[in-house]
């Protein structure tokens, strides 16, 4: 009898805690989990499982400074790729090419949420609406 009471209380508590997890957090988890799968399929071969890139050929995704100051341009990078532009990440310059992708804006948002919150980064969610806005400003 006593056990049952404790059990019910525990169950109630966990339900309360789960629903306390704000809508934002749930949104974040949705984007992040979806983004992980996209990253593994589309980005990991080049940028590696730990985001460290490949020597001086492919830049790492671990430079929080670069990602923060270029946050609004990330969607354009993923959608249109990079060609013949020299970029500097972590003090090293890279001039390789990154291919364009056919990812939908929502998938770009997911993969960017994953990247900007993995490998030591913590930038919060990048929403599909944000990506739509950023894509209008691509050069």
């Amino acid at each position: 009898m006593k056990l049952r009471v404790i059990g019910t209380v525990m169950l109630l508590l966990s339900v309360i805690i789960a629903s306390c997890q704000s809508e934002e957090q749930q949104e974040f988890q949705r984007y992040y989990n979806g983004g992980k799968i996209i990253y593994e399929q589309r980005c990991q071969n080049c940028h590696s499982a730990k985001g460290e890139g490949l020597s001086n050929l492919i830049p790492p995704l671990t430079d929080a400074g670069y990602l923060k100051s270029n946050k609004a341009a990330l969607a354009c990078i993923v959608k249109y790729g990079i060609k013949e532009t020299i970029i500097t990440v972590n003090g090293k310059s890279y001039e390789g090419a990154m291919p364009a992708t056919d990812l939908a804006p929502v998938d770009i948002a997911k993969v960017l949420t994953y990247v900007t919150n993995s490998f030591g980064n913590k930038m919060g969610v990048i929403t599909s609406e944000q990506v739509d806005k950023d894509l209008l400003k691509c050069k």
């Binding site: 071969n45 080049c46 020597s55 001086n56 492919i58 291919p99």
Partner: protein
């Protein structure tokens, strides 16, 4: 019952001894094989003749001419790639770097990577790629030459598929095999260069093979 355990014990001991007596682990020999009959001391003996990597001529990232003879006396690993490959090559060379770092100071070991896109991958492009990959010296050569010769060597001799196909990313079909070759130029192992576990096996097998060929030479 006691007798039975005793017998079992002896059998176990015997097999254990046999295990210990076995030679150091040997790697299989791949490729098509043929037989040849030779006359030794007046008797005809049938020997297996294994497929070997034939003569070739390419240029490395320093502009030096490299032939099959340049690899005489070396255990080596070969692969096929191109510098603008967007798919599996970055994974392959991230993994090959581990092999390079393990064995770059071993005097009878080399890595050769054949470009399958020699039109784009000139000597200068290969040198730049090598610099950026962080490799130097002569333990890892990036080789370029006539396209047909590279393709032939890949398909007929290393037995890996290489071909042009505008339908795949980057325009070429190729598999990420690392092929291990011994000092007699025979194929001793295939490893998926995109699979970290298989590459770890390769790193161990190279050690085995280096030991094997060294003892052969000592005999």
């Amino acid at each position: 019952m006691k007798k039975l355990t005793g017998a079992l014990f002896i059998v176990l001991l015997y097999t254990a001894c046999k295990f210990n007596a076995a030679d150091t682990p040997k790697l299989p020999i791949y490729g098509n094989r043929d037989t040849a009959s030779n006359v030794v001391n007046g008797k005809t003996v049938i020997d297996s003749v294994y497929q070997t990597i034939p003569a070739f001529k390419f240029i490395n990232q320093y502009g030096d001419s490299i032939t099959n003879k340049s690899l005489n006396g070396y255990v080596y690993v070969a692969d096929f790639f191109f510098t603008t490959c967007p798919s599996i090559c970055p994974i392959m060379h991230r993994n090959m770097l581990k092999v390079y770092n393990d064995y770059k100071n071993v005097s009878d070991f080399k890595i050769i990577s054949h470009t399958i896109d020699p039109k784009h991958d000139s000597v200068a492009v290969l040198k730049k790629y090598a610099d950026k990959l962080g490799i130097s010296g002569n333990s890892w050569w990036l080789l370029q030459g006539k396209k047909e010769e590279t393709y032939q060597l890949g398909e007929k001799n290393y037995l890996v598929a290489v071909k042009e196909d505008s339908g795949t990313p980057g325009g070429y079909v190729h598999q990420g095999w690392f092929v291990l070759i011994d000092k007699q130029k025979r194929i001793r192992g295939y490893y998926d260069g995109t699979d970290e576990k298989q590459v770890d096996k390769l790193r161990a097998d190279i050690k085995t093979l280096l030991a094997e060929t060294n003892t052969n030479i000592a005999q």
